[in-house]
């Protein structure tokens, strides 16, 4: 008991020394606390985000595998790639039978041109050499090396409202009129506000599109609505100067059956390029994994792959958070490492200063283990106070610190993207790995809700107290090896 009393009294009598050691422990606890909270919060934010994600998937040709198989088998990769066919709608619908699929929707896309009365928001005529991979309702229209002329407009025929992902996600919204119905080929469409303004089109007007390969083939659609979208000003920039049809402002939505009718009515000499894309709504990441297994069991060839842009986008959106977590881990290790060394050196210095005290205490009969216990009690008490203050401050300041650090990470990544854009003229991001190009992500996770559970508090307190005790123990070893008479005679 007297050891604790003595330790407490020593701490109060040597205020400067106690405050200094306490301050070091406090700084270690403060920095560690912030680092731990960031690590924990980043982890939970990522998990929460993932669990809230409604994952959708598509099935596409696994080009990478085809290429590597072709190389391994000594075949011409170009020939193999040209012969690769996308799944037909019927095949896609087969896989929609998987019990993991909550919903299945599809859309058909085709490229058409305007007329004198319908100019695209920005026009470029481009002829693109590409393999025919049409799997539209008109049946396969394969022809290796067929030349198609790309139009200025992308016409999207959707199966139902779910397939209008820009609208369901809130990126686009009707500003005038309404969306067409989906049940029959009614030749109705919705167009962007920009396109409507440019061509002075109102709801109820008709627009005329032409086959890019044969301008005499025309298709008339009635405008039932005009939409505006927040992505027009952003995503459109990526398309501009590259391909007008990629500009969201030049996207025309109609229903699937209408577009099927347009594609079917095109002449066989100049078929309309079209492709169908099916989307499976799966919900959770677990369902996504199960769906991958299911489709294989259902007979999907390994030359096809199931991918989820939601998942990829989400993982990419975590990039600043992942970087922040890495930073926090490094910070934690550095603080504990450097802090531990400083604390040990400081403890050695202080305990050497107190060598005389050790000599007196042992000379009056206090056992060395009790002297050590007293010194460790002092270290423990200081550490507890330092940890309490440091953890309290850390918990209070972790939110603003985390916000600043995360914002810094995001701006750094965005700056990197801007640099790449200016260097390449367009986005080239794919992976986002260190040193590599940065993935193009619509928005990054930019908020962190620092939370600290008791296990974090306890482990932090434990780490700091242990560090403090270890530092003092290391220092005590220096002093405890001396005999009391030697210490006292050195003083005299």
């Amino acid at each position: 008991m007297y050891i604790i009393k003595n330790a407490g009294r020593n701490l109060l009598r040597a205020k400067g020394r106690s405050v200094l050691i306490g301050l070091i422990v406090c700084i270690i606890a403060f920095s560690s606390c912030i680092a731990l909270i960031i690590m924990e919060s980043a982890e939970s934010t990522a998990k929460d985000g993932l669990s809230n994600l409604n994952i959708t998937a598509t099935i596409g040709v696994d080009r990478q595998k085809l290429m590597s198989d072709a190389t391994a088998n000594g075949e011409d990769p170009r020939t193999v790639m040209d012969s690769a066919k996308s799944l037909t709608l019927e095949e896609m619908q087969t896989y929609a039978a998987s019990e993991q699929v909550q919903n299945f929707y599809y859309s058909l896309q085709s490229s058409l041109n305007g007329t004198d009365s319908l100019d695209p928001v920005e026009s470029t005529d481009q002829t693109v050499d590409m393999p025919a991979q049409n799997s539209g309702p008109g049946g396969d229209q394969n022809g290796s090396g067929t030349t198609f002329t790309m139009g200025d407009f992308t016409v999207i025929g959707v199966s139902d409202a779910n397939a209008m992902t820009n609208f369901t996600s809130g990126t686009s919204a009707m500003s005038d009129g309404q969306v067409f119905t989906f049940d029959k080929a009614n030749n109705e469409c919705v167009i962007s506000k920009e396109l409507a303004l440019l061509n002075n089109i109102s709801v109820g007007d008709s627009i005329t599109l032409t086959n890019p390969a044969d301008t005499t083939e025309t298709y008339s659609l009635k405008v039932t609505g005009i939409f505006s979208g927040s992505d027009e000003a952003t995503t459109a920039n990526q398309g501009r100067g590259f391909m007008a049809s990629m500009d969201p402002a030049n996207q025309i939505y109609t229903n699937y059956k209408t577009l099927c009718g347009l594609v079917a009515s095109a002449s066989t000499d100049n078929p309309l390029i079209s492709s169908v894309q099916g989307t499976y709504v799966l919900g959770t990441p677990a369902a996504f994994e199960a769906f991958q297994t299911d489709v294989t069991k259902m007979g999907l060839s390994d030359t096809y792959t199931v991918s989820s842009s939601d998942l990829t986008n989400y993982e990419n959106s975590l990039l600043p958070l992942t970087n922040l977590k890495k930073f926090a881990t490094v910070l934690l290790l550095l603080v504990l490492g450097i802090g531990g060394v400083i604390l040990t050196l400081f403890s050695i210095f202080i305990i050497r200063e107190r060598k005389y005290e050790v000599g007196v205490l042992t000379a009056i009969g206090m056992k060395k283990k009790n002297v050590a216990l007293q010194f460790l009690t002092e270290a423990f008490l200081v550490a507890i106070i330092g940890v309490m203050v440091g953890t309290g401050l850390g918990a209070a300041l972790s939110q603003p610190v985390a916000d600043v650090l995360l914002a810094d990470q995001i701006s750094s990544i965005q700056e990197q993207q801007t640099n790449q854009m200016s260097q390449f003229g367009r986005d080239v991001g794919t992976g986002g790995g260190p040193g590599g190009p940065v993935a193009n992500v619509d928005s990054y996770i930019d908020s962190l809700s620092p939370s600290m559970d008791m296990s974090v508090v306890l482990s932090l307190a434990g780490i700091c107290v242990m560090l403090s005790l270890l530092a003092s123990s290391a220092a005590l070893i220096f002093v405890m090896r001396y005999e009391p008479m030697r210490i006292l005679s050195e003083r005299e």
Partner: protein, 216 residues
Amino acid sequence: MSILEIENLEYRYRNGNQVIDGLNIAFETGKMIALTGKSGAGKTTLVSLLSGLTSPTGGKILYENQDLLAMDKYELRSKKIGVIFQGYNLLPRLTAKENVVLSMDVSGKAITNKEARATELLEKVHLSENLQKRRVLKLSGGEQQRVAIARALSYDPQVILADEPTGNLDQANTEEVLEIFRSLANEGKCIIIATHDPQVTQFCDRVVNLEKKPEN
């Protein structure tokens, strides 16, 4: 009756100088014994050897017929032998009273009301209440010496080993301290005093003169 005995005691410094060579003394209870001799004769060394702070290089020290080497030295110094160091060896951050109370705490002896006992002992060595509350750093040499004496007496040891205990005291205070020692000896304690002071040697029951050994 002897409480402490030394047989053929030898002590040689690390540099090879032999300061004590074949010393035989028996220290009886109820007696005040003065250790005298010129500077360097080994008085302080003998006090260190008897308190277990230093181990002999030859011979034996027996405490109640037990070899000191085999005993727990910390137990010996905290319970059985009270040491008054020449340099006082007080804890500077503590007050006079706290130094005395701490000594009782360390001894682990069942002493009721340590504060009151400390006050009583400090008053006995004429340290005023005001001075008792002062940190020892702020006390004069003589005052510190009196605190050291009170501390050595605090846990009621059987043997008091005092190294020049009156070196910083005036004549009146010296007489007071010697009277305290006398009364303790009368209670059956063994008081061993290393001193140069003839006033002290005259007061003791027995004087052991240590001869200075010629340096090698």
